[in-house]
Symmetry: none
Subunit: 302 residues, 5 copies
Amino acid sequence: MSTAAENILSNYSADPPGVIGNLRRLLNTGGLAGTGKLVILPVDQGFEHGPARSFAPNPEGYDPSYHPSLAVEAGCNAYAAPIGFLDTVARQYAGKLPLILKLNNSDSLGGPADPHSALSGSVHDALRLGCTAIGFTIYPGSEHRNEMYNEIRDLIAEARDAGLPSIVWSYPRGGKLIKDGETALDVVAYAAHIACQLGAHIVKVKPPGANIEQSEAKKSYEKVPKETLAERIRHVVQACFNGKRIVIFSGGPAKGTEAVLAELREIHAGGGYGTIMGRNSFQRSRADGVAILKSAIQIFGK
Amino acid sequence: MSTAAENILSNYSADPPGVIGNLRRLLNTGGLAGTGKLVILPVDQGFEHGPARSFAPNPEGYDPSYHPSLAVEAGCNAYAAPIGFLDTVARQYAGKLPLILKLNNSDSLGGPADPHSALSGSVHDALRLGCTAIGFTIYPGSEHRNEMYNEIRDLIAEARDAGLPSIVWSYPRGGKLIKDGETALDVVAYAAHIACQLGAHIVKVKPPGANIEQSEAKKSYEKVPKETLAERIRHVVQACFNGKRIVIFSGGPAKGTEAVLAELREIHAGGGYGTIMGRNSFQRSRADGVAILKSAIQIFGK
Amino acid sequence: MSTAAENILSNYSADPPGVIGNLRRLLNTGGLAGTGKLVILPVDQGFEHGPARSFAPNPEGYDPSYHPSLAVEAGCNAYAAPIGFLDTVARQYAGKLPLILKLNNSDSLGGPADPHSALSGSVHDALRLGCTAIGFTIYPGSEHRNEMYNEIRDLIAEARDAGLPSIVWSYPRGGKLIKDGETALDVVAYAAHIACQLGAHIVKVKPPGANIEQSEAKKSYEKVPKETLAERIRHVVQACFNGKRIVIFSGGPAKGTEAVLAELREIHAGGGYGTIMGRNSFQRSRADGVAILKSAIQIFGK
Amino acid sequence: MSTAAENILSNYSADPPGVIGNLRRLLNTGGLAGTGKLVILPVDQGFEHGPARSFAPNPEGYDPSYHPSLAVEAGCNAYAAPIGFLDTVARQYAGKLPLILKLNNSDSLGGPADPHSALSGSVHDALRLGCTAIGFTIYPGSEHRNEMYNEIRDLIAEARDAGLPSIVWSYPRGGKLIKDGETALDVVAYAAHIACQLGAHIVKVKPPGANIEQSEAKKSYEKVPKETLAERIRHVVQACFNGKRIVIFSGGPAKGTEAVLAELREIHAGGGYGTIMGRNSFQRSRADGVAILKSAIQIFGK
Amino acid sequence: MSTAAENILSNYSADPPGVIGNLRRLLNTGGLAGTGKLVILPVDQGFEHGPARSFAPNPEGYDPSYHPSLAVEAGCNAYAAPIGFLDTVARQYAGKLPLILKLNNSDSLGGPADPHSALSGSVHDALRLGCTAIGFTIYPGSEHRNEMYNEIRDLIAEARDAGLPSIVWSYPRGGKLIKDGETALDVVAYAAHIACQLGAHIVKVKPPGANIEQSEAKKSYEKVPKETLAERIRHVVQACFNGKRIVIFSGGPAKGTEAVLAELREIHAGGGYGTIMGRNSFQRSRADGVAILKSAIQIFGK
């Protein structure tokens, strides 16, 4: 039994054994098994940005069977996707690769003026498809905050009741938040904290910048070390219940391999629990996608 | 057993046998039985555009018994209509011609400012009437996206539980989409992909134009072949999980026979799974309506 | 057994015997028993327009017992009213005069900006009061279309399950519809068609004028005969599934006896299934009210 | 409006109008319409005694369409049968001939040692089939009394809520009751009283003999006139809330026409509300069956 | 459209189109399509008598895929089995071969003293597996009659609501019935009649002998022709609502081919609707099994 993973699980002492068991599966799969760290492959970009913007760079990605195969080859802990993609692969991968069902999604064609993802799956779907966790996106900052928080309140409760942990994508966006503010250190830390407070088992945020967005917060950040990304990551981990909730970081838009890996090293140095890397892997060729995921695993496995 | 049809069914590996059985019936009925291709007769235009605009060109169409009789004579795979039309013919046709109950509908007299069809039937109605599938329209692009996606999420789940597959009409419309943008290649491919991600078993979209609407998508489309309709159809099929979900195309407004058939040949050449042809068949005389449907069947049967 | 009535019932082949039995009662009561025609007395004007506007012309009408007594004396097929009026008379008339419970109502004091009647009764009330059918008003054209269609979808299903047929008052109103447009031929035919598509067993609309409101529909009406009211009625009957759904017509605002009867003769000549005559009967003296209803019955009994 | 029928209905003052309306239909149908008397045709003998014992004497009776046709021709108030027989004729007769769905039945092949009929239909079936009342058999005297009384308690409540009256067949049988005791005056009166106390709207018992079965009751019967059947009927009517509940009598096993009619005259003389005559009508030829039912109607119509 | 099949369907006038559609599928599949006759392959013997007693004579039958393949090759109308067997083959056969889910089963190892099968499946299972009908066994004669009739009452209602017809295996057994009595003419006809009265759409009984078991019934059978099996079959058909309900016959224990076929010829001559032949087909070699089923189909197709 991995001490690192079990130590993390001991932080979830109010959850029933079913939830713990699924978290344990997540932590004990792939190249990072037992380390307490996670590299997850998420593919909801087809829904969020459109199929061509997502898959034209590497057309193999149009085929839903490509992604879990990539995740397994690279040694990821899990694969996350909307219901349609999972419907086509769950029979083959359930019980082999942890699957995470994204329960809400936005597209770029329409929707409400302020951000609010549409429910696209259910806890029952996650059980039906043999998933290991549910995923859900909230947009702290949006006018639709209350609907979203109510939705995730109900889904976390329902998922827990069925033995499933909840992973919350927490993206500050909408309302009065300006673009730069979305990744400000205070805002990212705040958004991560909200997700933890709402009961998320795992939180996913973007790597924070060094700026502070909220004027009321500026004084509080005077003494917080924030020059390096590692320092800022450390603050976000602190905001996640002093590290008692798992927080992982996305890599954001596709960029050069070295830039990605440098960022991951900082995340690791700052105590981040891992990364969720989509476009930076599946938009490369298969060989390059496997390589970059393996590099990420190597970084977090140190 | 048709290899073509069975190969398609193998893509729906997460669905229970009841759903597979009804998809099999759809694929094994009429002149295209076993080919894996579909020609479906839909008649919801009376509801959507008004009775005279729909049926004045061929007044036999005012009578609900006309349409399933046309579908059977021509050898269509199925007949789709709202509850009122099916109530009058289901006793005679259930178990003979696959019936698809359209569960939501819009009329041209009123409704919300941004597009959102009204629920007009239920999964229980589909069982009561002996239907083979449910149908549902979404309008990606509309402000009411979330309500629509939530409705179809629930209906797909309820229908699957009752052994019924779901066919989603995906029409980009509303919000910031301009008229031309509704049939842009990127928008149609995106709308088709969304329907697949929401769990649709069969998707119905309009044939796409060569224009690209979303500025963010333009770069992704630089290398996508899109000059001929066949090429564009091929891209939409790719966007439907690399062809692992059935996507069929409507013919749009009534037009000349040769124009219709030329379009269908391109759809077939591009790997489209078939067509859903309403006004171009039932607004002609019975002889001409049968003839054009049979021509469509011949094209897709090659 | 009346052949005329039984032929009509054969069009409702998807309904259970309970619904057929109640339709049969409607068709086999009063002076028109067995003819397949209907003259119904509706009294929801007190709710809709206020008591004095409704009953001051003939103060006997303030008393709820007046109206069913009038309906019986004249030989009407049925009496329709909101729950309050029926509560006072149902014990005396259930099983003798078919009662129709109007399940929604609007008043002229308030309500939403665009038309949407309030639910005022339930299917259970209809059973409790011994009713033969439920009644419901929709306003095609209103922004609240979706709420109304969803309500009637659920009520028709619940009523059918309890053996009760559904009568839909379909009044185009609200949204972009101008006053004149509400009775335009294309709009009335469309509203009647929508009610049939939603599953109504009987539809009630206003007699249509000769104008065409929707510009998109004008071409379709070029060859539709519409000079006389009889011709226009014939088109509305056609729009009601080629006469396979019962459509009856209101007389509209109170007017002179000869004007009313002339209109009814046209409705009959055009193949309309009858009339629903409220203010033109109960706002007259009892003798005159009975007389005009009997004249209506005589016209449709020919 | 018949004074006789309306006087009877006034005894059911706690029931909702729906129940009153259906009782009114029962009382206002056929040759006895308006008299407050009932002649009902029941055909559950196929279930209770087997098809050949029931229908071999007149093989037309094997066909379920025979019986309602007989009831209509003779002018009966209603036709009662189990769900199977009603399923085949309800579409044709609902709304024309009051149908009574027998909700429980026994067969002569097996079942519990002490009498207890099996539930064979539901209140929902009665609504679905357009029935006017439900029927139910209890066996006072059986060890299974409590199960039966609990069942009828629930069914009467559910039926009332749906506007349906309840008719209880009350047959003392089982336990310590000897064969002769089942028709003893005290026992029949007691069984009829129990049915009324359980909430039955109409009670059906056998004509009582002059014997007194219960030793504890003998003293009470010393002064009760009981020499003639008419006197004994009068006592049973008295036991049915002094005539405030409708009680009707069966004719028992098939016998000669004159014997049947003589018995009916006594029932009428004693104030009985009518008869439920099965084997004595449908086991004769059609002409004779119609004749004896008409004679019964004539007797009670006096 | 087959007139023979459609005439039969017209006897089910109270059922919704969904039930009619599934009955139509049963009647329009296989070598007897359109004739109104049925040859069904049932394989619940493994459950009822044990695997070796069932499949040792032809060990291919241990494999659940053997039986539907046999049914298709021979041209049967349908295949009936418990949930376990259907779970393994439904994905392959749903929508191709009508599947009947047996919802209750007995084994020979234990169970209640008097016969009462255990519930082993649900209506939801039938939908999930894409079945065309449910099957259920009752044992008229058993002390557990009431539990069984209550179970089938609820299942028939639930199945009808989901568009599924019900097939009732009616085996007189238990209580005071002696072995010989189980196949006595009066008892078989009675058991078939009970199933019809309970609402079965199709009844399955054993071919009756010439003996009369119930002393009370002997007189009724004096004039019933019963010397030949054809005559006795005719009487059972008569007991099934004069042929308005489909009744099919089993062949009973395995026997010689000629004996089986001779029996089937008599069943056909007597107007029986077909046969359900299990052990006499699947316990032979595949070639012989196909041959005997084809012979049966030939007999009923005449």
